[in-house]
C-alpha cells in the first residue's frame, strides 16, 4: 500500500504539468534538492545547505522558527476573523459576541488568534535574548540584528493595535492610556495623538485607523522585514553557531 502511494506520487512528480511548476523533478540527489530550494521563490531565501550544528536544539532553541510559526497562525486566523468583523462602534463589540456565541468555531479562532499573539510577543523577546547571549549579532550580522529590533517593534505595535479592535473596556482604556503616552512626546505630542486617533478622543475614527494599521500596514511591513531577515541569514553566512569550547 505504502509503496503504491509512493510510486503514484512519484508518477505525479514526473508529469509535465508538475515539472512546469517544480522544475527540480523527482530525483533525490543533492543537485535535485539544491534546485528544489533555489527554484522556489520562497525557499530561495535560504541557502541550499545548512550546518548540521545549526539544526541542533541548543544553539537556537528553535525560537526563530517558533516565532515564524505563530506568525503564520496569526495570519491564517486573522484573515478568517476579518470575515465576521466590522470596524465600527458599537458593532465591533457585537461582532465579538457573535464570534463567541453564533459563528461556528468563532470562539476557537478568536482564542487561537489571541493566545498566538501572546505567544509571539513572548517568543520574539526570547529569540532576541537568545541571539544576544549566543553572540549572533556580531559582524557580519549587525544589520540583521537591527532588522530584528524593528520586527520586535512591529510585533508590539501589532499587539497594541489589535488590542483595541474588540472594543471592550480593556481595549478602550489600554488605548486611552497608550495614546496619552504619545502625548508626552515633546513639541509635537498633541499632533501625534491627534493623528493616531483621528480626533481628540478614542472613538470610531481611532478604531478604524487601528484596524487599517492592524490588518494591512503592519502585517505588510512585518512580512517584508521577515523576508529580508531570512535572506540576510543566507547572505551573512548561515545561522551563527558558536564553536564548542571549554571554559
Amino acid at each position: 500500500m505504502a509503496t503504491t502511494i509512493k510510486s503514484e506520487f512519484e508518477r505525479i512528480r514526473n508529469t509535465e504539468v508538475w515539472r512546469t511548476i517544480f522544475r527540480s523533478g523527482s530525483g533525490s540527489s543533492n543537485l535535485h534538492r539544491s534546485q528544489a530550494v533555489q527554484q522556489n521563490i520562497f525557499l530561495h531565501l535560504f541557502s541550499v545547505k545548512v550546518r548540521s550544528r545549526a539544526l541542533e536544539f541548543s544553539p537556537t532553541w528553535y525560537l526563530g522558527a517558533l516565532t515564524l510559526s505563530t506568525f503564520f497562525i496569526l495570519i491564517a486566523t486573522g484573515i478568517l476573523l476579518m470575515f465576521y468583523y466590522h470596524p465600527s462602534v458599537p458593532q465591533a463589540y457585537a461582532d465579538m459576541k457573535d464570534l463567541q456565541f453564533v459563528v461556528a468555531s468563532g470562539v476557537f479562532l478568536r482564542n487561537l488568534h489571541r493566545w498566538s499573539a501572546h505567544a509571539m510577543v513572548f517568543l520574539v523577546f526570547a529569540h532576541m535574548f537568545k541571539v544576544f547571549y549566543r553572540g549572533a549579532y556580531r559582524p557580519p550580522r549587525q544589520f540583521n540584528w537591527v532588522i530584528g529590533v524593528f520586527l520586535l517593534l512591529i510585533t508590539l505595535l501589532l499587539s497594541y493595535t489589535g488590542y483595541l479592535l474588540p472594543w471592550d473596556q480593556l481595549a478602550f482604556w489600554a488605548v486611552t492610556v497608550g495614546s496619552n503616552i504619545a502625548k508626552a512626546v515633546p513639541l509635537m505630542g498633541k499632533q501625534i495623538r491627534f493623528l493616531m486617533l483621528g480626533g481628540n478622543e478614542v472613538n470610531a475614527n481611532a478604531l478604524l485607523r487601528f484596524y487599517v494599521l492592524h490588518c494591512v500596514i503592519l502585517p505588510l511591513a512585518a512580512i517584508l522585514l521577515v523576508g529580508v531577515h531570512f535572506w540576510r541569514i543566507r547572505k551573512d553566512g548561515g545561522l551563527y553557531v558558536p564553536e564548542k569550547k571549554q571554559l
Binding site: N30, V48, S69, Q100, N111, P139
Partner: protein, 240 residues
Amino acid sequence: MTDGPKMKPELKMQAEVQSDVRKNPRRIAFILRRSSPYVKAQDDGRVMTYPTALARFIIALEVAFVLLVWISLLANAPLEGIADPMHTPNPAKAPWYFLGLQELLHYFPPMVAGVLVPGLVVGALIVIPYFNINIEGESLWARDRKRRLMIVGVALVLFCIFLLVFDVIVALVPTILIGGLMLWSARFSPESPKLFHRWLASKPLSFWIMSWFLVELTILTVVGTFFRGPGWSWVLPWQS
C-alpha cells in the same frame, strides 16, 4: 550557483550514488572575494536545507500549532464589557507585555517612562552590534581593573540613589542583585578554580547590561501583572 557543464545521464547516476561534496568535489560556482558571504573555514558537517532543515521547521510549526490549539480549546480569550468612556475599570491594566511599562508609569512622568525610557531601550538595542567593545566580548575586568571597578561602583551607587529618590523599590532590587554579582565577579580571573567563577569573570560589560535589562523587564512585568490591584496599590496575588 548555476549548474556547470550539461550532465550526461551516467554522470547523473553517479551524482545520486555519491553525493558527498567533500569526497567528490565538483565545481558549481566561482565565489569571488567581493561577493562571497563572510564565512570562516569551518570543518563541521552540513545537511541539505530541503528536506532536512525544512522538515525541522515543519515539526516546530506543528508543535507550536498543537500547543496553541490545546490552549485555545481550554481557555477563552478575555472579553470585558463594551467600551464605556464613563467608567474606568479599577485597576485598568494593559496586556502583560506592557505592564512593565505601566509599572514604570506609576513612578515617573509619562515623558520619562513612556517616551524617554522606551526610546533609550530601542536605541541601545539597535547600537549593540556597532560597538567594538560588544564584538570583542572582552571580559569587563580584563584590563584597568581598579579604575573600572571604581567607575562601575560609583555609577551603581548613583543609580541606586536615583531609584531610591523616586521610591522605585521594584527596580532597585534587581539592580542591586545584578550590580552586586557584577562587582563580585571582579574578584575572579580566568584562572579561578571553580567553573562558575571563571564563567562570571569572562563576561563583558554588554552581558551585564543586557542581563540587568532582562531581569528588570521580567520583575517589572511580573509585579505589574500579579502584584498590582485597585488604584495600582500593592496586593498579593492570592489575596484579591
